[in-house]
């Protein structure tokens, strides 16, 4: 499995990278390469030009701007998982990053790469949706900020325009006392999820709100907060009842490998434990 021929550039600055992207219709960015290179080796992807952004300074790392974490596009999953700011202000993001692929994969794979690749079963698109993250993109024509809910369109498809590149991700910090849950189901450790789910419990008492996001059920991660019955702390069966509703009502795309009723069973169990985890941690 050897890739088709491609030309290669390793620009030292972001403007150079953006002008290479603008000047070549069939250029692809390579960051960690943990999804793109397998696709190229299998010749599912055959870009004419690879623009390698690994040598550009200032694209990785996490900073805190008061109410958001700003995460550089080239931040590797292992660094995201270990980062003190992320663990403090968005622990679900650190945890989810620690479950991506395998140990060696996490040393290379990047947050910008995962979001741009837009695998519907991937962890970071799901968590981006749950946390209302914003994706900051640049091109030679300027820059814009895309809310996660408008970013993921379909399988491997985002609303990035040709010539645009993800430069950073803004994640609103989570308030003290929030609860979170993240679970994925796969048959072998490190595989992409057959179903994954992430939940947040925010606020207290009558003000409590619950968010729920699901991955791998349709061609992009989805938020299904509206399907949840009104939150009732006093009802110990709330999570189980909510999971039943979500599993019955969520659209599930046909998959030749996994029968629909089986996927709905997994979904129900996974949603229940995810909501339960979020309530327990709040």
């Amino acid at each position: 499995m050897k890739p088709a021929r491609f030309a290669y550039a390793s620009p030292a600055t972001l403007p150079e990278a953006l002008s290479l992207l603008a000047g070549h219709e069939d250029a692809r960015i390579i960051a960690g390469g943990q999804s793109l290179v397998p696709m190229m080796n299998m010749r599912i992807a055959q870009p004419e030009l690879l623009v390698d952004i690994n040598r550009i300074e200032g694209l990785s790392g996490v900073r805190f701007d008061g109410d958001h974490l700003v995460i550089g596009t080239l931040t590797r999953h292992a660094d995201l998982a270990a980062n003190g700011l992320v663990r403090e202000h968005a622990p679900i993001l650190a945890h989810a990053a620690s479950t991506i692929g395998h140990y060696a994969i996490r040393q290379r794979g990047t947050i910008g790469g995962s979001l741009s690749h837009a695998d519907p079963a991937a962890q970071l698109p799901l968590i981006g949706m749950l946390l209302d993250a914003e994706i900051e993109v640049k091109s030679t024509g300027g820059e814009r900020t895309i809310p996660a809910v408008e970013f993921f369109e379909a399988l491997f498809t985002t609303t990035l325009e040709p010539g645009e590149m993800v430069v950073s991700i803004r994640v609103p910090v989570l308030p003290n006392g929030h609860g979170w849950g993240f679970n994925l189901f796969n048959r072998r450790s490190g595989d992409f999820a057959e179903v994954n789910a992430a939940a947040l419990v925010l606020g207290q008492g009558a003000e409590t709100s619950v968010r729920l996001a699901l991955g791998a059920v349709v061609s992009a991660p989805v938020r299904v907060d509206d399907m949840l019955p009104p939150f009732n702390e006093a009802n110990s069966a709330w999570a189980a009842e909510a999971a039943k509703v979500v599993a019955a009502e969520t659209p599930v795309e046909p998959n030749a490998r996994i029968p629909e009723d089986y996927r709905r069973e997994i979904l129900q169990a996974l949603v229940e434990s995810t909501l339960f985890d979020a309530m327990r941690r709040s």
Partner: protein, 165 residues
Amino acid sequence: MIVDASKKTPLTLVVNGQAHTVKVEPRRLLSDVLRDNCGQTGTHVGCEHGVCGACTVLLDGRPARSCLTYAVQMDGASIETIESKSAAGKLSALQQALHEKHGLQCGFCTPGIVMTMEAWLKDNPEPTEEGVREALSGNICRCTGYQNIVDAVLSAAKELKGDRA
């Protein structure tokens, strides 16, 4: 500057501390260049799409699949392969433990396991069996059933801890 797709471009790879200057097309995998151009055939090539872990090496100190990296990306980088482990004629702690615990049969997956798990043990000096199993899930072994590899990693961890104490 764009490197043309069919042009062999000169690169310098620092492999186990020794500089190798090679001329390769951009599409050449690092795993192939290590083996064919640098003569370091200890790096084994299994699946060539990142699943099996046999080709794992250290890139600037961190484990990575050499089949998911193009050599052209690594110009000037420092790469460590399995050949670095016993360069002084002595097995590393994990190699010795794999030997003692019978943690290999055909040995094809072993270089990738040593490169991955020695790096992992630095991050996780007091591993649990569950943690070892999770970390090992990125390296496929079809001979052993893993039990003896898990024993070897746990044993190497104890040995390394003793060294530090």
